[in-house]
Amino acid sequence: MSFSSRTLKFFLSIGVLSYSAGVLAKEVIVTQKDKEFKVGSQKIEKPLEVHVGDTIVVRNDETDVSHNVYGKNEKEDTVFKFLIQKPGEKDEFKVEQAGTIEVKCAIHPGMKFTIKATK
């Protein structure tokens, strides 16, 4: 293999990796409706699988119920906490580390789901 083709392959690899990372980092929209956390129209029953770098958008789709959402990791450290969300309001946070985050509404204890973040 010539020097130039190796160099080309190296830079191509870097480019592909960078591109992949860019494509993988995505935005996941979680809604709050009928006092449940949902993705699309489905209640989140299983851990929501995401990647480090993804952004989780939490939106209140209720007609007249407010929510107050926060998340803690497995060490019980607070990962994020939003101010109260009235219907129509949304907030977001970026997943910085691999692991699990328990997301809850501090007002409605029936509302909770788990985020499972991998690298």
Binding site: S66, A106, P109
Partner: protein, 349 residues
């Protein structure tokens, strides 16, 4: 003759009119009934499955006053089955007779709860909740759980009861005490109330006024916003504007910065509510009429944390009266609770 015709016509018309009126109230109320039905089954957690032995042991522990600092206070002292599992006081009484800041909440139907527990929701599960009052210095005031375990171990009967309830355990543990208490608490359920019979389809089980009250409950009264489902609560936490300096859920370290949780307390069940006066976390309302007036005026205190759901309702006197009639239909005639003869304590093992 003509007058007779008119009279006959009037009577027929009125009969038809009232007949329709009743039918429409029934139909209107029926629209809301479904979500209030009792769940088909009570689910015990996988980590603490039900057994008759565990429930029986839990009942012994629940009514045993000797597992308290003074030896006089059991769980059942405050959660008294003769008073709908409360104590009839505005706020609870402590181990030394002191007045505590919050009312004793009923334990009725907690097995159907999605959590959390206590007025501020500081316990995640009934198992988590069950031990806290035992060592709380203001409540049962046991020195610690080790002392409690030592005391229970001194009874041969208790040792046998624990062995039967937890055959996998060699000794009595904190975990097994909590599991037994929680299992017993899950067995505490209200029986069928007139409202339940109506939900099941018996149109005559509750009065027409009560049906109208149920409609108000689900519409103008806005009560359903939090008092939903079979237990008439979604277990949510709100500042409803009571006269209090108690921060409630907002006093927990996790939630000090959450404005909506300041002065916020758990939504209580409305089952057997007429028997459970006085009302609110601080017992500030003496009667259910007072409670209805409280909500009608939009609470007492207008704070930044006040729930957006608390606002003047402008209910009519008739609507308030109907609401009260409806709330009365939530009371069941529950079977008497048998107090167990407690095991004898001996020397610690």
């Amino acid at each position: 003759m003509r007058n007779h015709k008119i009279t006959l016509f009037s009577v027929l018309f009125m009969g038809i009119h009232f007949g329709f009126a009743h039918a429409s109230v029934e139909d209107d109320a029926r629209r809301f009934a479904k979500s209030y039905a009792r769940p088909k089954e009570l689910k015990h957690p996988a980590k603490n499955p039900h057994s008759v032995e565990k429930e029986k042991l839990g009942q012994f522990l629940f009514f045993d006053p000797r597992i308290s600092g003074s030896g006089t206070m059991s769980c059942g002292t405050c959660h008294n089955p003769a008073l709908s599992w409360q104590d009839g006081l505005p706020t609870a009484m402590g181990n030394k007779g002191e007045v505590l800041p919050r009312k004793t909440p009923t334990i009725l139907n907690l097995g159907y709860s999605q959590g959390l527990f206590f007025w501020d929701g500081r316990a995640e599960s009934l198992e988590d909740q069950a031990l806290k009052p035992i060592t709380n210095p203001n409540e049962m005031a046991m020195k610690d759980m080790e002392t409690t375990i030592q005391l229970l171990n001194s009874s041969e009967t208790y040792r046998e009861l624990f062995k039967k309830a937890f055959p996998e355990n060699e000794t009595i543990t904190e975990h097994s005490i909590a599991a037994a208490l929680a299992t017993f608490e899950r067995s505490v359920q209200s029986a069928e109330a007139p409202f339940d019979k109506w939900v099941e389809g018996d149109k005559s089980a509750i009065s027409n006024d009560a049906k109208k009250g149920f409609i108000v409950f689900n519409t103008n009264g806005n009560c359903v916003r939090c008092h939903s489902g079979f237990r008439f609560t979604d277990d949510s936490f709100h500042d409803i504007g009571t006269r209090t300096s108690d921060k409630g859920r907002g006093g927990l370290s996790d939630f000090k910065e959450f404005e909506a949780l300041q002065f916020a307390f758990k939504t209580m069940t409305l089952r057997n509510i007429i028997e459970r006066a006085p009302y609110m976390h601080n017992g500030q309302e003496k009667t259910l009429e007072d409670v209805i007036d409280f909500y009608d005026k939009g609470g007492d205190e207008k704070r930044p944390s006040l729930s957006a759901d608390i606002k003047p309702l402008s209910l009519t006197a008739q609507e308030k009266s109907d609401l009260l009639e409806f709330l009365k239909t939530l009371s069941s005639r529950d079977a008497p609770v048998v107090m167990p003869a407690l095991p004898v304590f001996g020397k610690p093992q």
